[in-house]
Symmetry: C2
């Protein structure tokens, strides 16, 4: 047997090996490990449901339970389920379905009304965490002069803090029936815009360090994507309206809807370099005003809660392995999480307050925007490959994701429960 | 870069490489190709739906359209979608869901009533194709003396013909609303028993050739599995009855049902060496008499028709590549397909007729049993690794799967349409 030095293989080699592996594995036995996925899925959906029910009994939202379920059954604690490529891909479909449903449940008029304010909130939600994160890094590792290597590293830590991952907020708001309110729509629109700004910032930071990525092209691509989405969106909307009037409540409508969602997710990533979840959300918005939008949402919801949703939320917990954490990383992580959460709440909350939301609603918006998710991990990964980050900070990012995922739904629930005591304008 | 001689790697090396690859790929970029699956899924579900609708317009069942969709978009014709591990696993979930639904829709009383007759039909459905297939091989390649190498090869070709794959019949019967009738239940039970007998035959044939697999243990395992299923089934049934009366029509019921289905599929394969689909079907039967069985079936059905079903049926077409077919293989394949279909229809049909089904119903049973599916491919794969088969016969097996998958639903539909003209006892 030859020894294969995988550490030295480059991307090209990886691709070659991978293709060969695929062929071998496909020939050697397609069934080799396929039945293990049944075990994993069974454990995940049962654990997620049980923990979800327990969470609800404790007055916390179900998603918290599902994330904790992932932690429990994952390598950190029980080790019953290991992350696999298949689970990662199922989780990816899960988050895309979630964003599609969120889009479907959007009120387009509300979205257009909240758009400008959402854009302002999103800007604050990107730049305040960016600055605070950079300062945090400098506080720990010394002030770095403008343009130095350490300076970019500091800015990069700030960049990780920029991207909101709204899926957990969406699920929490939906559980409470608050997704469609003014606050819900503002959070969602702000999170979408925030995502776009976050990606632009990332590309700028990496672009300044290595000259082969082009910050301007990202900006252009983003604009082009939305132009594309409006044109295609209008055509698809007309087609769906036609289908809707000819074949109302038939299976072909949710199927075509799902296909549109998947296609938009793909096109967004492939041709415009925009997150797949943004594409899926836009697909939902395209269909949110056809007559059968509720019918589509209902079918997506069932697919989602039966399998894809639990897999997605549990996968956040599954990603975590708390074995190699030491004291100094722990300390940095705690500061990182605190700065990450507070800077978002303050940034978004203050702008919301300035935009004439009342105090409670501003706080809801700030809290709703503070969740981080897989986008933060992806940003961190890009930083790793650009040499701006060492892998030790991954633990901090995962901490941030878990803490924010668990805290956001709980705080949101508390904030919304205050509404009944003192009804707001919403 | 080192050149890696994959052709010489053994199973162990493959495993090592695979694990390393997983780690590398997971680190290098989880998102690397994840968005390609969105494209593939979008193409599959749209193509399957469009072809399904066209098929129905041509008075053929939708599944035929879905299989043809797979052929069209697959490497044989358009090449838009390539088979991937992810699609294989989704398709696997698809077929498991399908069998679970079939189990859920079973009438337990009917099943027990049809059991003995189904067992007889299954025996005929295994042994007649087994004998005919062996004779076919000898007709093409010369008579082989008992116990010789060529003799086992001939028997193996017969073995490939034994296992019925009932999923397409199930879907066709369901489309026509005939799944629950006496004929439908008989076909389903016979197919399940046939599967078990087929696996025993396979193990015997391979067992005689290589002494390290133990035919007797398969028989014992099968019996043990059904004992296990009855015990666990009774316990689960009681638990579900309790849940059903305490929380009727809640999400936890279909979720727990799906978990049971996945767990049974896993346990069947892992601990008893029985096909996962048999486990899933048994899980369905366990739950078929609880009050919410229809509620569970409805939710599974939605998950199935939106994504998993089309992926499964299209994947049959996707597996096919008609590039390297020559005249002699084509000739053998035609004979193989003809023998495969006719021997099942005749074997099962005659026994059904002897068991006092009328002529038309006997024919329906025979035709319903003639579909072959992934089990035939798995058997062929086992033969390949046992040295009983060369890979050239894969094309024949795939032809058989496609032809039977397309013909069965069409013939079934024609046969059932005769019912209205001359009503039978069903």
């Amino acid at each position: 047997m030859q020894i294969i030095d995988f550490a030295n293989t480059k991307d090209y080699n990886v691709k070659v090996i991978k293709n060969t592996m695929h062929t071998i594995l496909r020939r050697k036995g397609k069934k080799m490990e396929s039945y293990f996925m049944f075990k994993n899925l069974a454990i995940i959906i049962i654990a997620a449901k049980v923990c979800g029910i327990v969470a609800r009994k404790c007055k916390a939202p179900q998603v918290v339970g599902e994330i904790i379920a992932g932690l429990l059954i994952g390598p950190s604690i029980l080790g019953w389920v290991e992350q696999s490529d298949f689970l990662v891909q199922l989780a990816e479909i899960g988050v895309v379905l979630l964003m599609f449903s969120a889009g479907l449940e959007t009120d387009l008029k509300d979205l257009l009304k909240t758009g400008p304010i959402a854009a302002l909130i999103a800007c604050a939600g990107v730049f305040i965490p960016l600055v605070c994160g950079s300062l945090l890094y400098m506080a720990f590792y010394g002030v770095a002069p403008w343009g130095s290597e350490a300076f970019y590293k500091a800015v990069f830590v700030g960049t990780i803090l920029t991207a909101t991952s709204v899926s957990i907020t969406v699920e929490s708001l939906r559980e409470m029936g608050k997704l469609k309110g003014k606050v819900g729509t503002t959070i969602l629109s702000a999170a979408i815009i925030d995502d776009v700004i976050g990606i632009i910032v990332l590309t700028f930071v990496i672009g300044f360090k290595s000259p082969d990525s082009k910050p301007m092209s990202v900006l252009v691509n983003t604009v082009l994507f939305f132009v594309f989405a409006i044109v295609i969106g209008f055509i698809c909307y007309k087609i769906f309206q036609l289908m809707d009037s000819k074949y109302p409540h038939t299976r072909r409508i949710p199927i075509a809807g799902l296909a549109l969602c998947l296609a938009m997710a793909y096109i967004a990533e492939k041709y415009f370099g925009i997150a797949d979840i943004t594409g899926a959300y836009v697909a939902g918005i395209i269909l949110c005003s056809i007559r059968d939008s509720k019918y589509i949402a209902e079918k997506m919801d069932i697919s989602s809660y039966i399998l894809f949703g639990p897999v997605f939320f549990a996968s956040i917990g599954l990603k975590t392995n708390v074995d190699n954490v030491n004291m100094s990383i722990l300390l940095f992580s705690i500061a990182f999480v605190a700065v990450g959460l507070i800077s978002k709440v303050v940034g978004c909350g203050i702008v919301a307050r300035l935009c004439k939301f009342n105090g409670l609603d501003s706080l809801k918006i700030g809290v709703g925007m503070m969740t981080r998710g897989e986008v933060a991990l992806i940003v961190a990964q890009k930083g790793l490959s650009a040499g701006l980050l060492t892998s030790v900070y991954f633990t901090s990012v995962i901490f941030l994701i878990i803490v924010s995922s668990i805290l956001t739904p709980i705080i949101l629930k508390i904030l919304y429960s205050k509404d009944t005591a003192a009804p707001t304008t919403e």
